[in-house]
């Protein structure tokens, strides 16, 4: 077992030039972009999917993975997490997803804050997550009215630039109750502040040279933030807004119309109540399924049926675990969406191709199609069932060992030996 770990680790350390050819054969292939393929083959070469089908020629020397009786799917795509940006929640020095925005007088607008330099590719949380079949995440900042810029990463690599798919992939913001301080304690204060920030960004763009000469009026946000907001104003960079109450979602949609923004609703606990508005605006929703309690007055309408009702109304949905340490529970979230009315294909799409589409990377991610990045998982059965085991995880064409700190501790304590020989 240790030998297998070491050789797999050696493969990981070898760069893309040494990426192998891998053929996964004999399993039921779920491309997501099309119907399942029984006894299908997925051929992987140089980090990309080379071919998917039933009559795929396998080159000599290819590593073969026998997936007979198993399911072969794209890796799971988690759309909202602080993965890589924290090690232990209560050890403040390990938290790199927030700019002290909860402090009195702290900056509630951090549009220029891009999390890349805070990502730890060696975070112990990454292996824990990827051995559960999650291969790709949007790692995001949190806190304040505008938290900053998120990036999309594959969970493999020793340098953040090697992991990065897109940076920035979105600007994250919040008009939920957790950013009331930005609005001086009132909802219309939050929207007022957001409009003020967007107006300032427009005005700055019209008078950039004058600003540099000090000949413009004062702006309400910093120079860096003004620049960072331009792609959002241009409708190129999505503004992912955490918001839950039905009326607050409608406020966000209003602002989106006024400024021509490309919106994503994050959370959207009461989104089902305004599904028609969301569909007309073509705005997708990132749903955490296991939320059905009126835990605050902004989520009185929480229901497990949110995802299903939104899809029936024609709204695009991605499913998120809403977790960092427990991002692996995205499978359980999707499975519960099925239990509460979402068809299986829709639920699995909501954790693969739908997030890829929402975040603008569907040309390379989210399905098993020739040309896409080889993020592939082999499962012992239905990936949404909790008794299903992960058998193989391949990220960018490299198989990752199914080892994490948690499996190593388990193995160390598999037998409690009273003789207590030194344990490696």
């Amino acid at each position: 077992m240790r030998r297998a770990i070491l050789s797999a680790a050696a493969l990981l350390l070898a760069g893309p030039a040494a990426a192998q050819t891998i053929a996964i054969t004999g399993g039921t292939v779920y491309p997501v972009s099309g119907a399942p393929i029984p006894n299908g083959t997925v051929l992987i070469r140089d980090g990309r999917i080379a071919a998917v089908g039933t009559n795929v020629a396998i080159p000599a020397g290819a590593q073969r993975i026998d997936a007979t009786g198993k399911w072969v799917t794209p890796g799971l795509f988690e759309s909202s997490t602080n993965l890589g940006l924290t090690e232990v929640s209560q050890v403040e020095e390990t938290n790199d997803f927030r700019l002290n925005q909860s402090q009195e007088g702290g900056d509630q607008v951090a549009a220029a804050f891009n999390v890349s330099d805070g990502i730890n590719p060696r975070s112990m949380v990454i292996p824990v997550t990827r051995i559960a079949g999650v291969t790709t995440v949007v790692s995001r900042p949190s806190g304040g009215l505008i938290a900053g810029q998120a990036i999309a990463i594959d969970l493999l690599g020793n340098r953040v630039e090697d992991m990065t798919i897109v940076s920035p992939v979105a600007m994250f913001a919040s008009l939920a109750e957790n950013s009331r301080a930005a609005g001086n304690g009132a909802r219309a204060g939050q929207t007022m502040r957001l409009r003020e920030v967007l107006e300032d960004a427009r005005a700055w763009a019209r008078n950039r040279e004058a600003f540099e000469r000090g000949e413009t009026r004062d702006f309400s946000v910093s120079r860096l933030d003004l620049a960072a907001l331009q792609p959002v104003l241009a409708g190129r960079l999505p503004l992912a807004v955490e918001v839950h109450r039905a009326s607050d979602i409608q406020s966000v949609l209003r602002i989106g119309r006024e400024y021509g923004l490309k919106l994503v609703i994050v959370g959207g606990t009461e989104a089902w109540m305004v599904a028609d508005d969301l569909r007309r605006a073509n705005v997708p929703v990132l749903v955490k399924v296991l939320s059905n309690l009126p835990e605050s007055f902004e989520v009185l309408g929480a229901t497990y049926e949110n995802a299903a009702r939104l899809r029936r109304a024609g709204v695009q949905v991605a499913i998120t675990s809403g977790e960092t340490f427990k991002a692996y529970n995205i499978r359980q979230e999707a499975g519960n969406a099925v239990a509460y009315g979402l068809p299986w294909d829709e639920a699995f799409r909501a954790v693969t191709l739908a997030p890829a589409q929402i975040w603008g990377v569907a040309d390379r991610y989210g399905s098993l199609e020739a040309g896409k990045v080889a993020d592939v998982v082999v499962w012992s059965g239905d990936p949404l069932e909790l008794l299903t085991r992960v058998e193989h995880v391949i990220i960018r064409g490299h198989e990752v060992p199914l080892v994490s700190r948690e499996t190593e501790l388990r193995d160390r304590y598999r037998h409690i030996d009273q003789n207590r020989a030194y344990r490696p």
Binding site: S89, N292, L293, F325, Y328, G335, V338, E385, L386
Partner: protein
């Protein structure tokens, strides 16, 4: 060890007070002013006023019956009469006129029991006015009783019912070393918490070790270290032992003046007498070993460690001392003491012969404890632990019933026990399965397909105007 329901020591005290002799040679009392007759002293304070809901004799047949007592009966039958399980088997003799429920294709199990919940004391909505779970004003508040904070209109209760939960232990939080008494509740709609109290259930005492108490009190006079926490605990037990000795002497001899009651020491003395069960929040292996030694020092037993993220490291000690492990399937990473997790924790504790329990500590988790168990099964099998579905079902039913001291009444489908029964739409360890029907004491409390059997609490009445289309 005789477990007395609630505090019979208080009944003895009250009786003694009423039996006291009056001193001689006092002048006769002055002519009386009109007075209300004194109210008789209740023998047991805050007694349960629970009554089972109406039920009819019911035969559930055609489903896979999982008794949690070792049997899995495909196409089995469960007969419920007068609130009790009358018979379980492949076929049973049912009286004429019984209500027949067809469970073909479904699974039948005992009701789910959650040993660690803050429903009602940290209810939804989680606003400051409802934040009643931690009396975080001093490190030892053994005197408080969680039931006095329980808001029966917490919508979380009926959500848990929809998840198959029929019994819960509501605990104080873990800010304090001694958080206070817990209470065991039946998951029935109620106006008062007394209407929910499980008759006959012993009280518990919530204790906490590790990071939480020293984080809360470190800057407020302490304790600020783990060693400070242990010293605080041991000093408290010393005082509790003295209090118990004083009352034991009084109960035996009635010499001198009756000691004054002290609610804090009364609860702790109840633990020393074996009447109140200790539920000890503790994460780290080494700290669990310390708590076990402290229990030995003072002669009490720990009924269960809660959370126990590192329980797998000392699972042999848990088994040796008959301490249950009330654990999560996979929570970790939020604190240093929750870092050394493994998803095989529950399974390893089970394999070692200690009672493994899946607990929630969460109003969403409690709704899907069956799914948490499923995750723990898979992780355990991956580690090579042999786990049957009956084994795992016991993590949700029989083992928590034991931990709460109510296993003579609930936790398995066996004749004579309370008819707390769940009919599931499929295998309870499938993510797609939902509870179809939930019976408590034979009464149908939840029916997914009957709009008149889907209770709501008062809080959810009229939340939205009719046109909102809820």
């Amino acid at each position: 060890m005789r477990r007395a329901p609630y505090a019979l020591v208080l009944a003895a005290a009250a009786a003694c007070a009423q039996g006291q002799a009056r001193p001689a040679a006092t002048p006769p009392p002055a002519p009386a002013r009109p007075q209300a007759a004194p109210q008789p002293r209740a023998p047991v304070p805050f007694p349960s006023t629970y009554r089972p809901f109406p039920s009819t004799a019911t035969l559930i047949r055609g489903g896979t019956v999982m008794t949690a007592a070792g049997q899995v009966i495909p196409n089995g039958q469960v007969l419920m009469v007068d609130g009790k399980i009358a018979a379980v088997g492949a076929t049973v003799d049912a009286p004429a006129g019984v209500t027949v429920v067809d469970a073909t294709g479904k699974y039948v199990t005992p009701g789910v029991i959650d040993v660690h919940s803050h429903l009602g004391v940290y209810p939804s909505p989680g606003v400051q006015a409802h934040s009643d779970g931690n009396e975080a004003t001093q490190p030892n508040t053994a005197e408080v009783w969680a039931e006095h904070s329980v808001w029966p209109q917490d919508p979380g209760f009926v959500r848990a019912l929809e998840g198959g939960v029929t019994t819960m232990q509501i605990l104080p939080g873990s800010a304090n070393l001694f958080g206070g008494r817990s209470v065991v509740l039946k998951n029935v709609p109620a106006r008062t918490v007394q209407e929910m109290k499980f008759p006959g259930a012993p009280y518990g005492l919530k204790m906490a070790c590790g990071e939480n108490p020293k984080r809360v009190y470190g800057n407020r006079g302490g304790p600020s270290t783990r060693m400070g926490e242990m010293a605080w605990d041991r000093q408290a037990w010393i005082r509790a032992a003295a209090y118990r000795d004083k009352w034991d002497r009084w109960d035996r001899d009635h010499q001198g003046t009756q000691p004054e009651r002290d609610l804090e020491l009364e609860t702790m003395a109840g633990v020393l007498r074996g009447e109140i069960l200790v539920h000890n929040h503790c994460y780290r292996a080494d700290e669990m070993a310390q708590m076990m030694d402290m229990a030995r020092e003072f002669g009490y037993r720990i009924r269960s460690f809660h959370h126990g993220v590192e329980a797998y490291k000392v699972r042999d000690l848990l088994a040796r001392d008959s301490i249950a492990g009330s654990l999560w399937a996979d929570w970790w990473g939020f604190k240093m003491e929750a870092l050394d997790f493994t998803r095989a924790n529950l399974a390893l504790v089970f394999e070692a012969g200690a009672r493994a329990i899946v607990h929630s500590d969460d109003p969403t988790g409690i709704q899907k404890l069956n799914q948490e168990a499923a995750k723990a099964i898979e992780a355990g099998r991956e580690a090579g632990v042999a786990i049957t579905e009956n084994d795992a079902l016991r993590w949700l039913t029989a083992n928590p019933a034991w931990a709460l001291g109510i296993d003579q009444w609930v936790g398995t489908l066996e004749a004579g026990k309370n008819a707390d029964v769940v009919i599931w739409s499929g295998n309870p360890f499938s993510v797609y399965t939902r509870a179809d029907r939930v019976y408590i004491d034979g009464a149908l409390m939840f029916d997914r397909f009957d709009p008149h059997r889907r209770p709501r609490t008062d809080f959810e009445v009229g939340l939205f105007p009719a046109e909102a289309g809820r």
